[in-house]
Symmetry: D2
Subunit: 464 residues, 4 copies
């Protein structure tokens, strides 16, 4: 990589899980729209054909006149090949398949435990973590061996678990976990600013300044500002006015039409409980609090105006349809459409190259940036990103009633990583039964655990 004249060329990126479609295509799009960086992207996926398809799609895109020669793509068949010489490593894998995820999400329903996402926390998050940790150990060691000085950008969930595992196997790893959930709340703040403070329609989420604090998907803002204005009073008005009805800038009821949308009722209720602005989608947030609040049963979920995303839907839309789209892009039946994703990935790469400073939210180990959560836990806060440097920005401390909850989750997450790294299902079981929303008897807990482990058994070969 060479940086000069506000241009970074010859960047070497290893994209692990390159067969994933959503994230990979989004990144291609954002790269196309940014002229100051160029280089080569090595795609590695356990499904080599998927990586190969992306190679073709990517090279096709960058053979267009307007993007000519800026990026080259090459699918490779080993981590070593992808990583050797890398400046950046992007991690975006699916741990297991949607078949396993079906167990993660739906098996607990029989015992009255519902999950809106099931990939981060709760029984589903835990079992997914058991699959993921061994994969991330392999990845972490490969980075240590082949690209120890590269910056690693993780998008995989469970985010906290993934990042924590990387630190465990390679303590010096330069990793940041990136998540766009905060951006949604920033957009809500834009709406509040327009609605109550008279800001014009041109106001964008990038104009909003926030302080981020918490753990991934249970993230909070304890500061929100635009120009000289504090945004908390405006948000409080929004949370109060729309507490019952919910609020969605794009139309009152679009949460009904999409498993990823929500009416923000959970966010508003949490604001009214804790006085801080929750900064993730309602589907994620609801999984972190007592089950009776927002997810007692499907009826309650409906009242709170968000959705329990069924894995069958993922199979249809995230798998089958995307596969078909990939085929069409490769064959040329469909043309790749370039449009900004709104993600920060490209900005982060630019900043790490030294092209411009960036302040954005990242998941890294707590070195002191959050008071009240033990050092070493993976937390989400703002960081100052500069040439070859990510410095967390001090975020303060959560109010105690919330800090206690977050600490419980943080303890559980550390314990899951420990159990998974020891390949110890009994240790994992002990965490499982004492998790936040596990209100079951020991007998039911054991039964459920065994069922779920069975459902994901193909990926637990190393466990005892």
């Amino acid at each position: 990589m060479k940086v000069s004249n506000n241009q970074a060329n010859g960047i070497h990126i290893a994209y692990i899980g390159g067969g994933s479609r959503g994230w990979a295509w989004g990144l291609m799009s954002d790269f196309a729209l940014e002229k100051s960086i160029s280089g080569k992207i090595y795609l590695y996926d356990i499904d080599f054909d998927a990586a190969k398809a992306n190679e073709i799609i990517g090279n096709k895109l960058f053979s267009r006149e307007e993007y000519k020669d800026r990026w080259q793509f090459e699918a490779v068949d080993s981590l070593e090949k992808a990583l050797t010489g890398a400046d950046f490593v992007v991690l975006s894998i699916l741990p297991g398949t949607f078949d396993e995820m079906e167990y993660d999400v739906h098996a607990p329903e029989k015992y009255g435990i519902y999950q809106s996402v099931g990939d981060t926390i709760g029984p589903g998050g835990l079992i997914r973590a058991l699959r993921t940790v061994p994969m991330y150990e392999v990845i972490g060691r490969a980075i240590r061996d082949y690209a120890p000085r590269a910056w690693v950008i993780n998008y995989t969930n469970p985010m906290t678990i993934c990042v924590k595992t990387l630190y465990e196997v390679f303590p010096d790893i330069k990793v940041i976990g990136c998540c766009h959930e905060v951006f949604g709340t920033e957009k809500l703040l834009v709406e509040a600013a327009k609605k109550y403070l008279g800001y014009p329609d041109t106001l964008r989420r990038e104009d909003i300044e926030v302080s981020v604090i918490g753990i991934n998907h249970f993230t909070w803002l304890n500061y929100a500002s635009v120009n000289g204005d504090d945004l908390f009073p405006a948000y409080a008005r929004l949370a109060s006015e729309y507490a019952e009805s919910g609020f969605n800038p794009a139309g009152e009821d679009n949460w009904l039409n999409s498993y990823f949308e929500c009416s923000n009722r959970v966010k508003f209720d949490l604001f009214n409980r804790f006085g801080l602005i929750a900064a993730a989608g309602d589907r994620h947030l609801a999984e972190f609090v007592p089950g009776d609040w927002y997810m007692k049963d499907p009826e309650t979920v409906k009242q709170w105006k968000y959705s329990l995303t069924p894995v069958s839907w993922r199979k249809e839309f995230q798998l089958r349809k995307k596969k078909e789209e990939s085929r069409m892009l490769v064959s040329g039946e469909k043309e790749f459409e370039v449009k900004p994703t709104g993600e920060d990935g490209v900005k982060i790469i630019r900043a790490l190259c030294g092209l411009e400073d960036l302040i954005t939210n990242v998941n890294v180990r707590n070195q002191g940036q959050v008071s009240g959560i033990p050092l070493g836990c993976v937390v989400e806060t703002n960081a100052l990103i500069r040439r070859d440097s990510v410095s967390p920005i001090y975020a303060g401390q959560l109010p105690p009633e919330l800090n206690g909850m977050v600490n419980r989750h943080a303890n559980v997450q550390n314990a899951i990583v420990k159990a998974a790294m020891a390949r110890d299902l009994e240790m994992a079981y002990r965490v499982f039964i004492n998790e936040n929303r596990m209100n079951l008897s020991l007998k039911d807990s054991r039964e459920l655990f065994d069922t779920m482990v069975e459902g994901t058994r193909a990926y637990l070969g190393e466990y005892k």
Copy 2:
């Protein structure tokens, strides 16, 4: 106070809450049985007559030939008089009356929240704390002003809140919170040692060596030993064999006959969940974990073979009957019966005088004796007690899945003290609604809070 020849004479004790009956009489009894210490006890109570009655009872006892002249009792009408010159201060008050406690314990039942004790944690514990903290501020400041070098022994609940408040108003206070709940578990360990390791019937709880860790009433043993034997395997056998039936050395069903007894089923279940020995009565322990585990409803409680103690019972037995007994002891209709209580109070005083070393469990601020709980929280561990010195003994760290729970409680307790010291009901409300077992909607939470505050209003005069 003067110490020589293994004798400490002229000890000055201030007994605050001197009108209390159970504890005060117990201490008199233990004093009568210990010849190496003597002195004068000043009794202070907001009910002066009650203190006066104890003065008469105490002086009557120590005018008996066998106890002659060792202790004098005097009821006084101010903290200043009781405290000035004190070597030791004993705190044992009832914050408010059983009328207030009736609201604490029973008001939440309407919303499906049951409480077995209701004086430590949960909605009842929180409201009781709101009454208690202002009283303890007064007491703490009086100790600072009149007896800054005295050792303070607290027996009042909520223990953690009381001790924390004293530190807040007088950081240099030499306080220990003492609780006998651990002793019950030690007795259970005696039974296990006899049953499975062949120890003789002469084995006593004092022979058992334990390491104590946790917070008051949610206290754990992570080490238990007798002579060269580890007691964990024996306890594990007990917990497994009696998981369903429960175990009570004094007879299978005595939990049915007493609101303070239990069958230890909760303790055994917790052992099977966490791998540590819970060291408090089941009634206390059950209040600290998810409500659905052991206290969903009265039926569940019955299955777990312990009791929800109704306050009406306390009014009858702890109030009316004790009052009558006091009258009879004063009038001489009944004679004071001397018998050892099994409490450590007298041993602690002896140790602090320099007469002999003692290792026992105490509640003090965490200075490092427990890893994984923030410094400054009040924790319960063993301490080495010597002349004018209490040194906590390092207790290790709880397993993460349990540590997370304890941290949540510790955060809440700190927040309650903060809210109470600020006399801020809104801050208290915010803690109340986010408490472990508060699975209510904001609307129901508000309603319940208002009801409970109303029920204890007489003691919240300073709150806004």
Copy 3:
């Protein structure tokens, strides 16, 4: 204060120590050059006439056509008047007079202990602190009572002691300690970048990006970058090439002509010892390390090409000449010359108003931004400054051999504040005798301490 359209008007500033000349005039100058802010500045000084003179000078300046009406100045005779309603408080006082400072700096010379500045650390710094702390207690309490929500910008030395004292008397104070010493090192980095990396002459210190870590006047850079370039190799070359000769951009020997200049030989030697870039003037740095390294005697000082600033010189140039200049500016004999100071004060005020973000180095309590130094110590690092918000940026940890030294100083500084707040000369003495460069016997130590206390006695009225 009102912020709109990138303009903050009606700002109320309290300038405490308004009689000080250097800093006050500099701020006036910088204000004149910045159009986006305006308001009123209340000047308070124990020497009311000095404040009055500045009122006249300031109002005269802002009556000029080009600066018209932006700022008004008013000398007031009480802290209450200055502070009430303040948005910002600027603290820039001289604790005591140069007569006291003469003892601070020169009394230890009799015992072979030399001091180049004597206002921060060492015997001089300690005695100065004893004078300063009581003054800062008064100021801190006044801010708590009259301007609790104002941002306080401290320039007074000893910086760490001043800021720590403010926290002690008013824990919620919003204070930052600002020091320009880092800027000098940034200029040195500019020289290195031009010399070895081919950067053009237009490169300015503001283009350099650094990470700041340490305590005031013993501050370090563990990161220095410009565009895509790491500046450490270039600085290493400078430190090696000029290790013996010293390096001064403005001419080889200007350290000879000024008591404030240096040849950077100490800085280079420290780089070669620790591998980090020391970021303060050599005169300050040399006071923090073992005496034998750079300050054994005046001869050693000369070899290292910096100066021991005699207080007699301060009396002549910082006092007499400045007083004369003030008289001339008031009378109109001389016209106030507007020129940028290079200080960050105005930028900080703009940032806190919400007009633009700023990253600069500040002294605040360690909340986690520096690992390896206890929380609560006052440390110097970068911070992100935004509307009504200062968030320290995580700076990492010093290498252990340096961290140990810094910890020793930090412990001493905390102890000095404690002793001073207790008005306890014996406690202060205990710190004094065990200070880094105090290699004296107990007898000599006592003699020196008594002499120095005598010399500053006029300001120690409250001490026992």
Copy 4:
């Protein structure tokens, strides 16, 4: 090992460095005097003949009628053989020979740096550590592999470095570092108690109760008591009365006759400086403070009435004479004399077997037992020793002016271990030049470092 009836039989001890004579013979003696334990001791030393000699001496001793059959000794030729199945491991090695130590101690004298012991701290301690750490890595890994559940008792210096290294290579190791230096101060307290408080001549050091705090050889007492009496006032009298003359119970001038004795003048001066009781020999203590205080030159040392132990003396008395004595014991020319050593080793083994509780001072990692020193540093405090359990007792915090010094040493010690484990001489050099008493220029520092490394080169084969 089997424990019953207050008897522990079949204990397996691995004695590493069994060729050392002093400690091994002392332990034999203490074993002979204690009937409650028996078993087998495997002796391993890199000098197999030395171990063999001890085997003969030991077995000869335990064939005497009065000690018959309690202990068997066997010299083995590998760590594996010694450790496999061990209940206890005793570590007592000499890292290198006295030839290397000659460089450690005497090379710095050319530069004006004197050392009284030179095995713990300062240039000599550092170089010795460079030799020792690789050896302890081997030992630590062997314990992990062959005796992971054994209790390890370390006597080797540099104590802190040895213990720290063991933790680094095997974090779960159950190690305690034992040092008798504290006992000497306890004896001094006995003298003070007899002299000023009228205690009888029968008072023994075991009757004194202390609280120990600090790091090995720079250890302090912040509590000392006997029965109901505080011993600080008595010690203060001693320190004041004998500040100039020194005090030695065994006769005024015995420090003149022994390189290991002292007059306690340093200890008294330190008490008068810090208000705490230093608890190690003056020779050790003097190495931890500024060089000018007590060790400027041999003349100063003489004034403080202690000695700089020359390594030539060690060669004569600790090596040649002991070797001769060994030969005579083996051959039977001399009979082994059984006498109590006053060490705690046997008591510690008894306690860990569960035979009786013990409170004594140990060196273990800081888990919270000392405030103000980072967690993970090896510190010396009291611990409660029980069956298979060592629990540090909370010791408080050192006064800040002392805590700063100790932190500097602790930082340096951690850095040395890090440098040595990395086999990185440059990193070691950086620590070396910035050590407490290294007041040299970079040029002299380099020269001295190179000389000393050369002198110990035979043991630095793995270093780069």
